[in-house]
C-alpha cells in the first residue's frame, strides 16, 4: 500500500536533489547555453552579441554543411553495416560446444577498449598509399591500391571501415546477451519440426534479436553523427582531402577552435542535435514494423 504524498513530505525531493543538480548543471544548462550561443556572435574568449538568426542563415548558405551532412550520413550507413556482421559473428560464437569462445570474444572486443586515436594512428600506417601494408597486400593480387587517406571518397570509406571494425566488438557483446535470452526450447522444437540451422537463424535468432538490433542501430546512429576523433587522427587536419571528407562535428570543431566563431559553431551543434533527434525519433516510430518484443 502506497503512502499518500503528504506523508512523504519533502524527503523524496531531498533524495533526488543531488542527481537533479548534476543534470541541471552538466546537461540542461550547457544545452540551453548552446542554444542561446547559436543566436549570438561569440568570440574565442566569450563576449556574446545577439545576432538573431544570422548564424542559421549562414548555416543554410554554407555548402560545406551539406557536404558534411552527406559525409556523416555515408559514414554512419557504413558503420551500421557492422550490425548484421556482428549478428552473424555473435551467433557463430554462441553455438553450443564452441571451444575457446571466450578467447574469440576477447579478441573481437579488444578494438573497442583501445583508444580510438591510437588505433587510428596504427591504421594510418596500414592505409599509407606508398608504404602501407594494405596496398602491399593488394599489390600481391595484382590490384594497384589508391592513396586511401588522401583521395576523395576513399578517405571517407577508409575512416568508415575503421569505425565499422571498431564497432563490431561492442555490437557482439550486446548481441551475445540478446542470444543468451533466447530460450533453447525454441531451437529444440524447431529441429524436431525439421528446420535446419539456416532456417532456425532466420526464423528464431534474427526475430528474437530485433530488440538488441534496434538498440544497436539507435546507439550506432548517434555515435556515427559524432564522428570526429578517428577522422581527425586518421587524416590529419592539414590533409588536402579534409574539406571534402569532414563530418559535422569536425565542422563544429573548425568553427569553434580554428575559425574562432563560437556562435556559428553553436548553430552547427544545434543542427547536429536536431538531426540526431529526428533520426532517433524516426527509428522509434519505425520500430513497430520490425522489432519483436515478446
Amino acid at each position: 500500500m502506497s503512502k499518500s504524498r503528504s506523508v512523504d513530505g519533502k524527503w523524496p525531493w531531498v533524495f533526488v536533489l543531488p542527481t537533479f543538480l548534476g543534470v541541471l548543471a552538466f546537461y540542461l544548462w550547457p544545452l540551453l547555453k548552446t542554444m542561446y550561443d547559436s543566436f549570438t556572435e561569440t568570440g574565442p574568449f566569450g563576449g556574446a552579441t545577439w545576432v538573431g538568426a544570422a548564424n542559421y542563415s549562414q548555416l543554410i548558405g554554407d555548402s560545406e554543411v551539406y557536404r558534411a551532412i552527406v559525409n556523416t550520413v555515408v559514414y554512419t550507413a557504413i558503420v551500421l553495416l557492422g550490425i548484421p556482421i556482428a549478428v552473424l559473428f555473435a551467433s557463430l560464437l554462441n553455438r553450443p560446444g564452441l571451444k575457446g569462445a571466450m578467447v574469440y570474444r576477447t579478441l573481437f572486443f579488444l578494438p573497442y577498449v583501445a583508444m580510438p586515436t591510437a588505433i587510428s594512428l596504427v591504421w594510418r600506417i596500414i592505409y599509407n598509399g606508398e608504404y602501407g601494408v594494405l596496398n602491399q597486400a593488394l599489390g600481391v593480387i595484382g590490384i594497384d591500391g589508391p592513396s586511401w587517406i588522401t583521395e576523395e571518397w576513399f578517405a571517407l570509406v577508409a575512416v568508415a571501415l575503421l569505425g565499422l571494425w571498431m564497432s563490431i566488438g561492442f555490437n557482439m557483446i550486446v548481441l551475445s546477451a540478446g542470444l543468451k535470452g533466447i530460450p533453447s526450447e525454441l531451437y529444440e522444437a524447431a529441429s524436431l519440426d525439421g528446420a535446419g540451422s539456416a532456417q532456425q537463424f532466420r526464423s528464431i535468432t534474427v526475430p528474437l534479436l530485433t530488440p538488441s538490433i534496434f538498440f544497436l542501430s539507435v546507439i550506432t546512429t548517434i555515435a556515427g553523427f559524432q564522428l570526429f576523433d578517428q577522422l581527425f587522427a586518421l587524416l590529419g587536419p592539414t590533409n588536402p582531402v579534409m574539406p571534402k571528407t569532414q563530418s559535422l562535428v569536425f565542422l563544429f570543431y573548425d568553427a569553434a577552435f580554428v575559425g574562432n566563431e563560437r556562435g556559428y559553431a553553436a548553430a552547427v551543434a544545434v543542427l547536429i542535435l536536431a538531426v540526431v533527434g529526428l533520426l532517433t525519433l524516426f527509428q522509434f516510430r519505425f520500430q513497430r514494423r520490425w522489432v519483436t518484443y515478446d
Binding site: 550561443d37 606508398e130 608504404y131 588522401t150 587536419p237 575559425g259 574562432n260 553553436a266 551543434a269 522509434f284
Partner: protein
C-alpha cells in the same frame, strides 16, 4: 528503454558538442617585483614542447634560487591542443599565469585583453627589448604595446644530404645558389635517384618554410597594411616556382605530404634536400643519416633577393594572474641571459637573447647552424600575422597548397586566395 533513452541519447549528443562561454575583463599591467624574498605565490607555466620540458624545469630551479618563495608548476599540453586549451581557460578567466605564445595566436590573445603588457617591466629595466631581434619584438607588439618576451627564434635555410648528392654526382648546394640552380639540381637528382624511390627535394610546402621565404625573396609579400599579398605578381611568381617543382615530380604534392611528411622523407634518406627551419635540428640528430646532413643559406630568387621569415616563441603573462608580482618576476627571469644560456646548453631551442646562441650552434657543429643566426641578422623579416591569423592560414592549407602542381596556374589560384583572405581580414576590423 523507450522515450527516456531517446532523451538521454539526444542530451548526451548535445553535451558532447557544447562549447564554452565566458567573459573578458580588462588588461592588467605587470607589477614590478621589489625585494625577491618578499615575492610569494604559486604560478602555473604552460608550454607545449615535451623536448624542452627538462630545460624549462632547470630554468625554474635557477629562478627559485633567487625567488625561493615562488612555486612554479609546469603544465604541458601537446601543440595540437595547446591553444584550444588556452582559449577555453581564457574564456573562464583561468589562464595560466605565464605561458608560451606564438605569432599566429598573439594578436588574438592581446586584442581580447588576455595578456599583461611589459610596460612595468621595461620601465623598471627588468626586461630590455634591445636584447632580442627587432623583428621578434615587433611580432609581439600590438598598438604600440609589447606583451611578449622573446624566448627563442627560428629562420629558414637549405638542408641537404651530402651522400645523396655524391651518389647522384651532382654538385652540392652553395650559398650562391639561385632558384634556377635549385631546380637544375632537382632535375639531375630526380634522374639519378628517382628510380630508387628517392625524391629530389623533400619540401613540405609549408607556409613558414617554403611559401613565405620564396614570396618575400622574390619581392612579394604575405600581408601589408591589412591587405593580402597573395595577388601580388611577385608573390605569384614565387608560388609558381613551387608549383612547377611539384608538377615536375621533384617534390611531393600536398596529398603525398599528408600521407608521409616530407621532412620525414628527408631524414629517412628518401629526399636529397629541403627548405626548413632550425626547429628540425633535434629530429636531424635522431636521423640514421645524421652525419650526411648539413645546412647552407636559402637559394636566391631570380632578382638576387634572399629573405627568410623569422619566428619565435615568446613568454607572456596572463592579464588576470592571481599573483601578478610573482608572474612578472618569473617572466623577467625567463627573458634574462641566464635562462637563455640554460636553453642553449640543453640544445632545446635557439635562444632569442642576443649573444647567447653560440652554445646552440655548437650543440650540432656538423650542421653549420650559424647559417640560421646569420639569416636572422642579415635577411630576416617578421613572420606575417594579423588579429585572426588562423583563419587565413586555413585558406593556405585548404586551398592554396593542394593547388600547387595542379592544372590551374598560380596566376589564377593565388588572386582568389587573396580575395578570400582580404574578406577575412576585413571581418577582423569590426
Amino acid at each position: 528503454m523507450r522515450i527516456s533513452s531517446v532523451v538521454a541519447g539526444v542530451v548526451l549528443a548535445a553535451l558532447a558538442l557544447t562549447g564554452c562561454g565566458g567573459n573578458s575583463g580588462s588588461a592588467g599591467d605587470a607589477g614590478v617585483p621589489d625585494d625577491p624574498a618578499k615575492v610569494k605565490g604559486d604560478l602555473t607555466y604552460a608550454i607545449w614542447d615535451v623536448n624542452q620540458q627538462p630545460a624549462m624545469q632547470e630554468i625554474v630551479k635557477a629562478f627559485n634560487q633567487k625567488y625561493p618563495d615562488v612555486k612554479v608548476s609546469i603544465s604541458l599540453a601537446t601543440f595540437d591542443q595547446y591553444f584550444t586549451k588556452l582559449k577555453t581557460q581564457g574564456s573562464s578567466d583561468n589562464l595560466p599565469d605565464v605561458f608560451w605564445m606564438n605569432g599566429p595566436n598573439f594578436q588574438l590573445f592581446a586584442a581580447n585583453k588576455q595578456l599583461g603588457t611589459l610596460e612595468g617591466l621595461t620601465e623598471a629595466k627588468q626586461v630590455d627589448p634591445a636584447n632580442y631581434p627587432k623583428a621578434l619584438n615587433e611580432l609581439y607588439t600590438l598598438d604600440g604595446k609589447q606583451y611578449g618576451v622573446p624566448k627563442d627564434f627560428d629562420t629558414i635555410a637549405l638542408w641537404y644530404n651530402k651522400k645523396l648528392f655524391a651518389d647522384a654526382k651532382v654538385e652540392p648546394p652553395t650559398a650562391e645558389w639561385t632558384w634556377a640552380d635549385y631546380k637544375a639540381a632537382a632535375v639531375k637528382l630526380k634522374a639519378a635517384l628517382g628510380p630508387k624511390g628517392i625524391w629530389a627535394t623533400g619540401d613540405s610546402l609549408g607556409n613558414q618554410a617554403n611559401l613565405y621565404p620564396a614570396m618575400l625573396s622574390n619581392g612579394g609579400y604575405v600581408i601589408k597594411d591589412g591587405k593580402s599579398g597573395y595577388g601580388d605578381p611577385k608573390s605569384v611568381e614565387a608560388l609558381q616556382f613551387w608549383s612547377d617543382l611539384v608538377k615536375g615530380g621533384f617534390t611531393p604534392n600536398a596529398a603525398q605530404n599528408a600521407e608521409t611528411r616530407s621532412q620525414e622523407r628527408f631524414f629517412d634518406g628518401k629526399a636529397a634536400m629541403m627548405w626548413n627551419g632550425n626547429w628540425v635540428v633535434s629530429a636531424a640528430l635522431k636521423s640514421p643519416h645524421k652525419n650526411d646532413l648539413t645546412v647552407v643559406p636559402l637559394p636566391k630568387a631570380p632578382n638576387g633577393g634572399r629573405k627568410t621569415v623569422i619566428h619565435g616563441i615568446a613568454n607572456v603573462m596572463s592579464a588576470k594572474s592571481k599573483n601578478p608580482e610573482a608572474a612578472a618576476a618569473f617572466l623577467a627571469f625567463l627573458g634574462g641571459k641566464d635562462a637563455a644560456l640554460i636553453q642553449a646548453k640543453a640544445g632545446a631551442a635557439n635562444p632569442a637573447f642576443t649573444g647567447t646562441q653560440t652554445d646552440f650552434v655548437n650543440s650540432a657543429p656538423q650542421y653549420n647552424l650559424k647559417t640560421y643566426i646569420e639569416a636572422a641578422e642579415q635577411y630576416a623579416e617578421p613572420y606575417p600575422v594579423s588579429k585572426d591569423t588562423g583563419v587565413w592560414n586555413k585558406l593556405e592549407i585548404d586551398e592554396l597548397v593542394p593547388a600547387l602542381g595542379g592544372p590551374k596556374p598560380m596566376s589564377e589560384v593565388a588572386p582568389q586566395i587573396a580575395t578570400k583572405m582580404d574578406e577575412a581580414l576585413g571581418k577582423e576590423k569590426k
